[in-house]
């Protein structure tokens, strides 16, 4: 029991010392209305009150500062004297800490504010997407949710670099992904692979194919689709028409759609060797200089030469907007 008391006392000592230092460094200024100020000053001095910044504001108004620790003593001495005393202000380097010590509600408020600031700095209120890959945001949000990054959720333990790398490896459509925290929002920059993108004019009425291939995915936000998934399209074929039918009425609009087409490109390679598939593939890939989904090699022989036909399959995203 005694031991505990002693320990408590020891623990309180540094705090009490700090409290004393804070109190000693804060001054209070008074305006004293009256006459014969030298009597007052001498009386206060005799009572060991340290006086600072003594000046006459008006002939009968004296400004005087004392340490706040002497405040009670000051009032006890001046209570029976014929002076009208008005408190003007507090000053001192540690005034803020003094106010905290003497206003528990303010202290609690400050602590709460700091705690909430720290707490909410790790909360994501929403996602913001930038870059030309933003139209994949729904898919990316699904990926983020699957990986524990949700709106109104905590992001404290999430490594944003790993998250960016994860999105990049999950979606072949992007050439660059960056996740950054901007305030309470997660800023995600998505940049599409250039070889997969064909940007059409926003004001174009219809959306046409820019390549020859098979429609793999089609998303129409405005307009009417002219092809279905699996359809084979030629370059210049209409993919999405710039009109919409409402009952009996047809409205002309500018198409807003995204169509992914799986296209192919063929390369020929002639060799004397029967087993030169690898070289044929390498030459085809070097000539294409783009991202390839898959490839196939056909070999034939004619007049002692081997003819390799390398077919590269790749994706093109055609869209308006």
């Amino acid at each position: 029991m005694f031991g505990r008391r002693c320990n408590n006392g020891k623990n309180k000592k540094p705090f009490n010392k700090l409290k004393r230092d804070i109190v000693k460094s804060v001054y209070v200024t008074y305006q004293v209305l009256g006459v014969n100020f030298s009597n007052l000053l001498n009386k206060l001095k005799r009572e060991d009150i340290e006086l600072y910044e003594i000046s006459l504001i008006k002939p009968k108004v004296l400004s005087i500062s004392i340490k706040i620790s002497d405040e009670q003593k000051f009032f006890a001495i001046t209570k029976n004297l014929c002076y009208n005393i008005k408190k003007v202000n507090y000053k001192g380097k540690l005034l803020f800490l003094y106010n905290l010590l003497h206003a528990p509600a303010l202290c609690v408020g400050v602590v709460l504010f700091i705690a909430l600031s720290i707490l909410f700095s790790n909360v994501i209120l929403g996602f913001s997407f930038v870059g030309n890959g933003s139209r994949y945001k729904n898919q990316v949000i699904r990926y983020l949710n699957d990986n524990g990054v949700k709106e109104m959720g905590f992001i404290g333990g999430v490594d944003l670099e790993k998250l960016s790398d994860g999105i990049l490896s999950e979606f072949n459509e992007f050439s660059f992904v960056s996740c950054k925290k901007s305030g309470n929002r997660l800023l995600i920059e998505l940049v599409l692979s250039e070889n997969k993108t064909h940007i059409k004019n926003t004001n174009e009425k219809n959306l046409y194919s820019t390549v020859r291939g098979v429609v793999e995915e089609i998303k129409v936000y405005r307009g009417t689709k002219a092809v279905e998934v699996g359809d084979f399209v030629e370059e210049g074929d209409l993919l999405v028409s710039g009109h919409m039918d409402f009952k009996d009425k047809r409205v002309e609009v500018n198409a807003l759609a995204v169509v992914t087409i799986k296209a192919k490109k063929e390369f020929s390679y002639i060799s004397d060797s029967e087993f030169d598939e690898k070289n044929a593939e390498a030459c085809a890939l070097a000539s294409f200089a783009g991202e390839v989904d898959s490839l196939s090699v056909d070999k034939s022989q004619k007049n002692g030469k081997y003819y390799y036909k390398v077919t590269l399959y790749y994706k093109i995203v055609v869209y308006t907007g």
């Binding site: 340290e50 910044e53 003594i54």
Partner: protein, 84 residues
């Protein structure tokens, strides 16, 4: 040994130095030690009582920066100090 003690031992009259001390910093500030009390106080004139006699500071916009345990620091534009 402090600066004042050194001067005191140099002159050999310690009693002389025990009466009061006044240190003047340019014409902006004057610091007194061993002051008994303040007799009069205005912006132009401050009278201080010493153990023996009194001292008068005259000037403009005089202000007592500190007054405690026999020490008085006066600031302002100090024009004259007179000992009576």
């Amino acid at each position: 040994m402090s600066f004042f003690d050194e001067i005191s031992s140099f002159f050999g009259d310690e009693e002389l130095f025990c009466k009061f001390k006044a240190t003047l910093f340019s014409d902006k500030c004057v610091y007194f030690e061993k002051v008994k009390e303040i007799i009069g106080f205005s912006e132009e004139r401050i009278d201080l009582r010493l153990k023996k006699g009194q001292i008068t500071v005259e000037g403009e916009k005089l202000c007592i920066k500190k007054y405690c345990s026999g020490d008085v620091a006066i600031t302002g534009k100090i024009k004259s100090l007179s000992i009576n």
